[in-house]
Amino acid sequence: MRRGWFLPITATLGFAFLYLPIMSLVIFSFNENRLVTVWSGFSTKWYGELFADPQMLGAAWRSLQVAFFSASFALVLGTLCAVALVRFKRFRGRTVLAGTVSAPLVMPDVITGLALLLLFVAMESLIGWPAGRGIVTIIIAHSTFCMAYVTVVVQSRLSDLDLSLEEAAMDLGATPVRVFFDITLPIIAPALVSGWLLAFTLSLDDLVIASFVSGPGSSTLPMVIFSKVRLGVSPDVNALATIIIGVVALGVVAAMLIGFSQQNRTRARRG
């Protein structure tokens, strides 16, 4: 095998490309100067300003609520869909369901957003619900596109699953529902956690779909950030980004460590 200089150098440059912009963002969040790129001394005043901005805080809280409920609905719907597709091999409309659930994965956000908005408007004039748009319509929209991702994650775990455990439980007289809650659910739990986290992140991150289906006074955090950033630099966005990056980095490192220790434990058990 060639141990040349080419691979290490491109990899180093690649990681530099990925991380330098993020690092400069973090560094300049501690800059005293309003001009984000001119350094004039260490300061944490933008963090203070961030936490004193009711618009930003309100939007952050709203986004967390939306992400929590969207991820939870998407988890339930996506898991049901995955169970239907993996466990029930034959039913009418299976191919349609399989195609429809994966379609949101390739659908551009602008189309998803526009389509749902037009649906909500049409529904409002036909049956009077949803009355206006706001947090509820955003949750519905996010649940729909996130459920596709949950389905993919849970589906791959379910199809790897050893069927004999479920069959054994059935033979011992457990009903299908009980088998699902007692056997299947605990085994696929890690996939459910990663599916929920993925859905939560996607919902928290979405700007385009939320912009279409939100109403007055229900701006999510990405919408507020986008309108600020579009007008130019804003140091409090740097501060916010630093907090988000810190939280995510901690979470990912913790997940890695848990994964490592589990791997080690299984290895130790296997001897």
Binding site: V36, V110, A115, T175, R230
Partner: protein, 314 residues
């Protein structure tokens, strides 16, 4: 009832099964029906609504489009306008935007591949204890906000940004990078690089080292081995990674609007402006339908063909 004494009756699933049975539903039917119903109402029906409204015209009022069905003294009249679609074909802006989206997405996918492939290869060839850490470094940006990463680039590339300040130290004139197509390419490559690296890594890490040794023993130079062994074997990873970049890039809105200039035409941005700036809902709907036909349906067919090839290969 299958309620044998072995099953404690107060368990939640027994309650669930009983209440389902009371409505004459089997668990199986409900498992299928719930997601199917949700997707029908909130995914399939909206697409038909978009198609319907694309056949209306803009008018002032609530909702801001002409009704398709009108009743006039007991007769129901259906009015369909093709003007939006005619406009898409005749106004050069829309055709140019579709073409330029495809071009920008293709070129940036290619650049992402050229950067991502050696990175994935380097990670796959790295000592095992390093691999997980390097992979984590690739995945980490994906979990942080997409919007904030694009914003990080604006701070990097703007007129008095980090790059130009570094160049200034060496006495080089500041470069104009923001609000150009160049910035859009950088933005797409920057944000979608992890999507390219992950499938490539999964593929390359499985590559059998014996094949490479065999090729070397038979007298191939390293680049010959790469072209005749590694590259063909990693084709599934290349296709998977390229699709993961190309598909979202083509409908991208955030990157062209924050990094691109006024002349950067991308169809996602055209749709957005049609809706939010011009408030022309029917025109935006027609743009969406055209996008479905021109872009999304070919991608779905392509994916199907790709799956078939992968299945065949097994």
């Amino acid at each position: 009832m299958s309620d044998s004494p072995r099953l404690p009756p107060r368990r939640p699933w027994t309650m669930l099964e009983r209440s389902l049975a009371a409505f004459g539903l089997s668990g199986r039917a409900l498992v299928i029906a719930a997601p199917a119903l949700w997707l029908t109402v909130f995914f399939l029906v909206p697409l038909f609504v978009v198609f319907g409204i694309s056949l209306a015209v803009k008018q002032f009022g609530r909702p801001p489009y002409s009704p398709l069905l009108t009743t006039d003294e007991g007769t129901v009249q259906l009015t369909l306008h093709l003007s939006n679609y005619l406009r898409l074909l005749t106004d050069g802006l829309y055709v140019a935007a579709y073409l330029s989206s495809i071009r920008i997405a293709l070129i940036s996918t290619l650049i992402t591949l050229l950067i991502g492939y050696p990175m994935a290869y380097a990670i796959a060839r790295a000592p095992e204890r390093w691999r997980n850490i390097l992979l984590m470094l690739v995945i980490l940006p994906f979990w942080t906000s997409f919007l904030l990463r694009v914003y990080a680039l604006t701070g990097f590339m703007r007129g008095n940004g980090v790059i130009n300040q570094v160049l200034g130290v060496f006495g080089i004139e500041p470069l104009v990078m923001m609000q150009t197509d160049f910035a859009v390419y950088v933005g797409i490559v920057y944000t979608y690089l992890p999507f390219m690296i992950l499938p490539l890594y999964t593929n390359l890490v499985k590559l059998d080292g014996a094949l490479l040794e065999a090729s070397a023993d038979l007298g191939s130079r390293p680049w010959q081995t790469f072209l005749s062994v590694t590259l063909p074997l990693s084709l599934p990873g290349i296709i998977a990674g390229s699709m993961l970049v190309f598909i979202p890039a083509i409908g991208e809105f955030v990157i062209p609007s924050l990094l691109g200039g006024p002349e950067t035409l991308m169809i996602g941005r055209v749709l957005w402006d049609e809706f939010f700036q011009a408030a022309n809902w029917p025109r935006a709907a027609a743009v969406a339908i055209a996008m479905l036909v021109v872009v999304v349906i070919p991608i779905l067919l392509l994916q199907k063909a790709q799956d078939a090839i992968v299945e065949k290969g097994r």
